[in-house]
Structures are given as structure tokens and as C-alpha cells.
């Protein structure tokens, strides 16, 4: 996910891998960005510390893909997506650009100068947000 404040020009990108730090709290203390429920709050707090304001934030999400034929056994991608949305819903955060799900790989990028966010798949770029 990315976040960006166009006024403060504060932004960044968080790549978390797992939905919940309850899996291993010791590891979450060591690497909070690995988990959605510790990484996302830390990401927002860091942005606020740098001058970002919640009401100005532009938030985008990409990824959360699933392997084929999962049959509900793992659903790691969809659980990541669910956790992200749950945290955003609880905190009244709207997603401005979204490219999630499926079984494809994406590369996500943010340009800090203007906040433009894009995702790329098989060389094709998709603009998720721009001013």
C-alpha cells in the first residue's frame, strides 16, 4: 500500500506480507512492517510524525494475489486484503486506487514529488492515482 499527503509532500510505500502479528508477537516487535495489523498503524504514524494529515492522505493498495486452486486452505492474499480493509474501515480511510486480487504479480511505485501511484503487470503500467 502507499500513502501520500500532497500538501506536506510526505509519502511512502509499505509492503506487508502477513495479516496478523498474533502469529508471532516477538517477530512483530522485531519486524512490525511484516504484518498488516502492526505495519499499517506504524506506517500512518510515521507519516503523521513527518507532518502528514489524515484528511489529506491519498491511500492506494495493490497485490494480495492468491496461488491457483487454493480451495480456501490458505487464502493468504485475501486475508491480507481483508485485514487492510478492516483497518481502513475502522479508521475511516478511503482507498483512492486499488489493484488487488487475482493470481498476478504487480510492481507498485509511488513518485514522492507528486504522489503519482502506479502498478505494473507484465510491463503494462496502470495509474492508480495522480494529481
Amino acid at each position: 500500500m502507499t500513502l501520500y499527503d500532497p500538501v506536506a509532500k510526505v509519502g511512502g510505500l509499505l509492503h506487508f506480507m502477513l495479516p496478523s502479528a498474533r502469529l508471532n508477537e516477538e517477530k512483530a516487535d522485531e519486524m512490525p512492517a511484516m504484518f498488516a495489523d502492526t505495519g499499517i498503524p506504524m506506517f500512518f504514524k510515521t507519516a503523521y510524525d513527518l507532518g502528514a494529515r489524515k484528511e489529506r492522505l491519498v491511500v492506494c493498495a495493490a497485490g494480495g494475489a492468491e496461488v491457483l486452486g487454493d480451495d480456501g486452505h490458505f487464502k493468504i492474499g485475501s486475508r491480507n486484503r481483508t485485514m487492510l480493509r478492516k483497518i481502513f474501515w475502522k479508521n475511516n480511510i478511503l482507498i483512492s486506487g486499488d489493484d488487488t486480487g487475482g493470481s498476478i504479480c504487480r510492481t507498485m511505485a509511488i513518485v514522492i514529488a507528486d504522489g503519482a501511484v502506479s502498478s505494473k503487470h507484465k510491463g503494462k503500467e496502470r495509474v492508480l492515482w495522480s494529481q
Partner: protein, 290 residues
């Protein structure tokens, strides 16, 4: 459609397996890792010596205020860690610049290789599979066929595969539709040309589709397959193939792989990979930290 043999024969600069890896593989296959031999390999390679020094003096193995020389470092790390460092370092040269045909950035194929090695080792240990070093090696080499496919097809690869990529179909099936073979089979044949033991070649051949039934079934293949899936979930070396792979049901059942176990494996693999990269970052200067 092009035969595997034709692919391998037509590549002018077929990737070469470093001699050190061949020697270690022979040791592992015979069930006897000769530490003196591994030490000898390490001492005669400058980049390897550098890596060993850094490892022995890292936060994990070192002691504050104490610097170990090469001899002390080798003793301190012990044979098993030394063996992994040698393999990682030597195989790095094979992978470090490859992967662009598969839509990977420089170094990504290497990260996937090491991630697979770590995941295979962890899975083997968890299931008390005694040949964990063999699992480590097979995890490391499992995608070696991508090197050969990339060398043969070059920039054409992406165009040819894109016409056959179908949602819901596994990537190896898509490769077979496009090329008449897939990177796993090509990798296995390459391993045989390197004169690696047939079991290692088969572990590479079956890393996406391990056989469920006897007599072809082998727990080594299951472990390497599971390691490959863990790397996918961890987001390592995912390129044009995306996540278009399937976990074999018999592997899920046989290795008791449920959601929690999978998440633990992802966490451990990622953490160990980060740790390795942290230690190796300054040594390589080659962008290929294990």
C-alpha cells in the same frame, strides 16, 4: 515446439555449475560431507573467504570487540554453516544477472533461489527429514531451468509466453503450450548435463508437480515443492509467472501444511533471508548476498 536437448545444445554459453558446487553435491549424495574438503574450497576463493569472515564476525556468530581470522572463522562457523555459505556464494554467480525474460529485476531470481533453499531446509528439519543439506541444495537450484530458457529464447520469451498465459492455468502448463517444455524439465536436463545425481535432477524436474504415487513419490520432491510455494507466498522472485502455480494436495496433507504453518514458514523464510542479506550486503559487492 523445441526439444529440451535442442535448447541445451543450442545455447552457446550454457550456464556452468561451479566446480565447488559439483564437489559438494558429490559429498552430499554420498552422505558424507568432508569438512576438510569444504575448508580447502573456501580457502582458495577470495570472495568466499570474505563471505566467511563476515559471517563469523556477524552479530549472530561473532563476539563484540573480537575479530576472527579466516582459520578461526571456519572453526567457529562449523561445517554445516560453511557448506551453506559455499553453496550460496558459488551459485550466486549463476543467478545474479538472470531473470529478465521472466520479468524479474536483477537479483530477484537469486533471492528466490536462496529463499527456496531456506524454506526447503526449514521444512526438512520440521519433518525430521535427515538430508536437509540436500533439500537446501535442491531448493537453491530448483529454478535453474529459467537460466537455460532465458539463454535460448532471450527477449522472445516474454512475447511467446504471453500468447499462452491463461488465467486459472498453471504457469508450467502455459510454458508447455508455448514451448513444448517447461523450465522445470529443462532445469532437470541441465542438472544431468552437469552430471548432478539423478535424484537432484528429479527434484528440479518435479518442483512444481511432485508425483503423488509410488514408486515415483519422494519426500525430497515434496519438500522442494512446498519450499517453492512458500517463496511464492513470501513474494520472492515472482515475475511474469505471477502466482500461477498449484500446491499439490498430497504435499499439503503429507507435510501437514495448514494456514498457520504456511504463515510461520513465510515469516521464518523472510526473516532468515533478510538476516542473510544483512550479513552479506557488504561482502559481495556483486549484488548477490545469500
Amino acid at each position: 515446439m523445441v526439444a529440451v536437448a535442442h535448447i541445451l545444445e543450442s545455447i552457446e554459453s550454457l550456464p556452468e555449475l561451479p566446480v565447488a558446487v559439483t564437489r559438494i553435491t558429490a559429498m552430499l549424495s554420498s552422505g558424507q560431507a568432508d569438512l576438510k574438503e569444504i575448508e580447502k574450497i573456501a580457502r582458495h576463493d577470495e570472495a568466499l573467504s570474505m563471505a566467511i569472515l563476515r559471517w563469523a564476525n556477524s552479530a549472530r556468530y561473532g563476539r563484540p570487540g573480537r575479530v576472527f581470522d579466516l582459520g578461526e572463522s571456519i572453526v567457529r562457523l562449523g561445517g554445516k554453516t560453511l557448506l551453506k555459505i559455499v553453496l550460496q556464494q558459488k551459485v550466486a554467480n549463476l543467478f545474479k544477472d538472470a531473470g529478465s525474460a521472466y520479468g524479474l529485476q536483477r537479483g530477484a531470481l537469486w533471492r528466490g533461489a536462496v529463499g527456496g533453499a531456506i524454506a526447503a531446509e526449514e521444512t526438512a528439519r520440521k519433518h525430521s527429514f535427515k538430508d536437509w543439506e540436500l533439500c537446501f541444495l535442491c531448493g537453491l537450484l530448483r529454478d535453474v531451468g529459467k537460466l537455460a530458457m532465458e539463454s535460448f529464447y532471450g527477449g522472445e520469451y516474454a512475447t511467446l509466453i504471453s500468447a499462452h498465459l491463461t488465467p486459472g492455468r498453471s504457469f508450467v502448463e502455459c510454458e508447455r503450450a508455448a514451448f513444448g517444455t517447461d523450465h522445470a524439465h529443462v532445469g532437470a536436463e541441465l542438472a544431468l548435463r552437469w552430471r548432478l545425481p539423478a535424484r537432484i535432477a528429479d527434484a528440479i524436474r518435479h518442483h512444481h508437480e511432485p508425483p503423488a504415487e509410488e514408486p515415483e513419490h519422494d519426500q525430497l520432491f515434496d519438500i522442494v515443492h512446498a519450499a517453492d510455494m512458500i517463496c511464492l507466498w513470501a513474494g520472492l522472485a515472482i515475475g511474469v509467472d505471477g502466482m500461477q502455480y498449484k500446491l499439490a494436495p498430497h504435499v499439503r496433507k503429507g507435510l501437514n501444511l495448514d494456514r498457520k504453518e504456511a504463515e510461520m514458514d513465510i515469516m521464518v523464510t523472510w526473516s532468515r533471508l533478510r538476516e542473510l542479506e544483512g550479513i552479506m550486503d557488504d561482502t559481495s559487492g556483486e549484488g548477490a548476498g545469500p
